[in-house]
Symmetry: D2
Subunit: 330 residues, 4 copies
């Protein structure tokens, strides 16, 4: 499964050291004006504004548009694009052709497919997120048509007394603003569940929380309840329908008109190497000096990826809304 | 969307105070022997072994099997079943016909559909999980064919200095054992992402964590890495392939053969009532004395629901495995 | 796969001699008023107004509604229903428990599932279409909201010099009127392809044609072309946009505003019996005197089934239309 | 919808006069050896061995492989490819920028999307089938693993007394050999219905028939029935399980082990031009001298397209087969 979404569908392809990464967006509303500058800005955010904590690998991220857009306008047909993989040092990974690193997907890919591209992590590389960011930027343009926006920020704290070269993880918080009440589905296809699915699809994600998340476990039902927000005359305040937003803007799987708030937890990039760091295809321990390049704190680069996945979820729901119910038609 | 899964598909239907709750399972392997006792045990667990913390509503949960099973054996055709709704006190909810409780799905359903069944929460009632538990039990039978099992437990702690009638939430931890390496998908359709989607589809779920979850944010990449487990001779220990299991048995979205471990956080059942507890359809504050019955700690009843959803995820992956790759064929 | 459609989804279940046939409709627009009389009329048409050519099996076809409807209005939640199987003579089929009739699905089901319900054809029985007719009738109500209607008629001709008891097939022609231009999808998901899929899903369907069908093979491109229809002033006649309708109202997979016209060919009900009529599970020829009841010309009962499947296709497209393009918004 | 299949999924993209046509294949079995020569042969067949009846447009059809294949072996990750569009005479189509040809998809695309690429038919061009042929060739490699093959031939007859420049249609017959019994699904997802859907997705397809098709309407049930094939000892002949194959190898939607036989009817390429041939965006008649290039009998080039679509259907069913039932496991 390399496709995300039902109505606004994004299909991702490409291996880290293959010819190119790319994607196909099917279901983009015809007539959408493509904001190329937004795409470039998001790609730059993904590369890392400040390189000190991010990988040395530097990609131009030049997009080749192949279909679905004419004169800067979406045709409604599939939008496809590729970003060629330059600056690859495949030889750094030769030692991994027949062994599996600890804490990576090498072993599981081999078990899943019986074959894998070991160079630069192949399909499992964080490099794959470049296609998500492009698709997410286009999804943001769809959201903008509905006056909806997405914004995420990273919160990271280096563990105390950490050796120089160590990596560490962190948390990304995201807010979707402008989403009207009534978006999402009950039971399955819940907005919060689709967001959880999208976020846990980001490499190194290890946890997801809606609204106040785990803090809710220390509250009573009375404390947790988001009370309605009324003015002195007892009229509902439409702009902010509840006094608090503990639930994160989603009730029963459907948006309530408040900002949709959630956060994603990420584990650090695994860097174990040296003694017994690898499992050989022969089932024996192997010491490997692994080259390649890693972020010290890759989380600094993830807010734009979180935004992209959130935008894909919301665009899918907005494009796939059911025939408007009668009350709304009035 | 009331259907869960791609290959082993479960469709849920029913309103809390309607004629019946029920479901259809499409894609159940033909020839599966139905263990009715297991289904009854799981339904009993859902009702709550000990009633002190759970709702007074007591359902016989008698299942009527409609299709897909002959002489206790699955035919491979759709398995459908219903559980009639008895013991309903619809009149308790009359006051809610034209107003929305705080902290519930009343308002969002109205916005989504322009109409709703207000009795007992209608489709949004926790009552809906009864159908999931039946489907989950059948999924467990599919897992058993593959020597896979699922087990969940609840961890709840009443907030200190809590009034008598207060409700509170908690956490459910779940372990999937016996799952071979290589189950799941990279990019989208990840095992961990599908579990997150399934768990956040449970009413009152507010957070999800794989393995050690948030604790990973305080670790360095070196500490977090799950080292390979070798014996003194340097041979991999197949029964426990890694020394630790911080990742929860999933790497790159695919199982690595270790137990799949995750936990789900649940907020308390919302109980706010009395002054300004409700929003009238006229947009004005309304005081309503709400009858109905609630659990003081519904989390005690959720482990079996968590197991059911996890079983649905794993059964879907096991039934939908791709044509086995060539290495495995050897 | 027992589910039809993407947005307006119908799931069918039930074996001919099981407890009940039934279905679940997910994605029905909330607020739809259910026309029960229409459903009963269509069920009566399916049973066969005039019994002379149709099976002796007479079902009351009493529907039990289980969910998704309150006070005659669709809630937007899954609509589920069952029709119990009465008047079954299962003993007529005892001889088929371990052998396969010629020209039926007995053998293929056994190969597909390794087990089957042999009574009355089990899941393969024409009886299954009763659930389609109910779902199709609800789909027609959705179409009516868009001023779209579906009408089918049967054309049958008894082969000359036919023994008294012989069965024969025929053709059903169907017209969808009122469908605006722009409904359908290019490439895949074409309106004509979806109709073909739907019609070939009807038991005993053996051919499908759009518009003039095979006659088009004897025409030149100039003759086949449906010329635009202009008035004397050279203005397009909106009510009938083309002079002819050879293509059947669909071009490039998308409706052009003309009536959508297609026909379905059906082979006769297979009745071979007696000498070597059956293949035993032991791989040997077997003579079986098969009881059970058959139509002499079941095609007389199929127009309402063709209408039902066509209505499901159109309702799915109408409920799942993409965000209206900008020109149409003007 | 530009994706075909559930398990072996093909997504098509590209406009006739855009940068490139291309596709993504998701779900291709890992380890599959890619037979590039087969792909080139099929592309050559599509271009037309003998150009006398086919368009003057000559494409090199040089494939650029972007992902999913390493050292000629499928990785199990998405296989993506593009074929750049050369030799385009976009200026031939300038006159069509604001008007719609009769008998083409110009008008319906405009109604569907409110915008279109008018050059060379844009997305609606037969050019799109080039990507299907590439994907179909890879699907054939999957079929070959299961000893299944697909073969189609064209039957065309120029209408008598036809002016020199006229175009005409025809019929393509296709046979799938080697398919075991038990492939397909009852009710929906029938093998014959999926084939009908696939074939009617080919531009200019106007009819579909399984087996003997319309001839079945002139038969009695006794004549139509495909009798079991027994040897003199009364044992079933496994190699040819029925004496005749009127049904085309599919019963109840599932293959019976006989060759799967079907045919597709195609209308001629529409060529009307000159007086009132076009409908202007202003709703008025317009005479346009249309350049561009057309086949006189495009059906000569369609057998390989029919084979490609059939291979996609069968590969999807073979890759997506349910967990083998117990009898087959024995």
């Amino acid at each position: 499964m390399n496709t995300f979404g039902n109505t606004f569908r994004f299909t991702s392809f490409g291996e880290s050291h293959g010819v190119a990464m790319g994607g196909v967006i099917d279901g983009c509303p015809a007539g959408l004006v493509i904001d190329y500058a937004l795409i470039d800005r998001d790609l730059a955010r993904r590369r890392g504004a400040d390189g000190t904590l991010t990988t040395a690998r530097c990609e131009a991220d030049k997009i080749e548009w192949l279909s679905g857009i004419k004169d800067g306008i979406a045709l409604g047909t599939p939008i496809s694009f590729i970003i060629r993989n330059g600056d690859v040092h495949s030889e750094d990974y030769d030692a991994l052709s027949d062994c599996y690193r600890a804490g990576h997907a090498d072993y599981t890919y081999q078990k899943r497919y019986g074959i894998r591209d070991h160079r630069g992590g192949g399909r499992a590389s964080g490099r794959e997120t470049v296609a998500r960011v492009v698709a997410g930027a286009i999804a943001k343009m769809v959201l903008a048509q509905h006056s909806v926006s997405v914004s995420a920020t990273a919160q990271t704290l280096p563990p105390s007394e950490m050796e120089e070269e160590e990596t560490y993880g962190g948390r990304v918080e995201c807010v979707v603003t402008g989403l009207p009440a009534g978006v999402g589905n009950p039971i399955f296809g819940r907005l919060n569940a689709m967001l959880a699915y999208a976020m846990m699809s980001i490499p190194s994600a290890i946890g997801f929380e809606m609204g106040i998340g785990s803090k809710a476990m220390a509250m009573t039902g009375r404390e947790y309840a988001d009370a309605w927000h009324f003015d002195d005359a007892g009229n509902a305040v439409k702009e902010q329908i509840t006094e608090t937003n503990h639930c994160g803007g989603v009730q029963g799987g459907i948006s309530n008109g408040m900002p949709v708030v959630f956060s994603v937890m990420f584990h650090p990039v695994v860097t174990q190497m040296g003694e017994n760091c690898c499992l050989g295809a022969d089932g024996k321990a192997r010491d490997v000096v692994i080259g390649g390049r890693h972020d010290r704190c890759h989380v600094m680069r993830l807010p734009v990826v979180v935004e992209a996945m959130a935008a894909l979820v919301v665009a899918d729901l907005l494009c796939g809304r059911p025939t408007v119910c009668f009350e709304e038609e009035k």
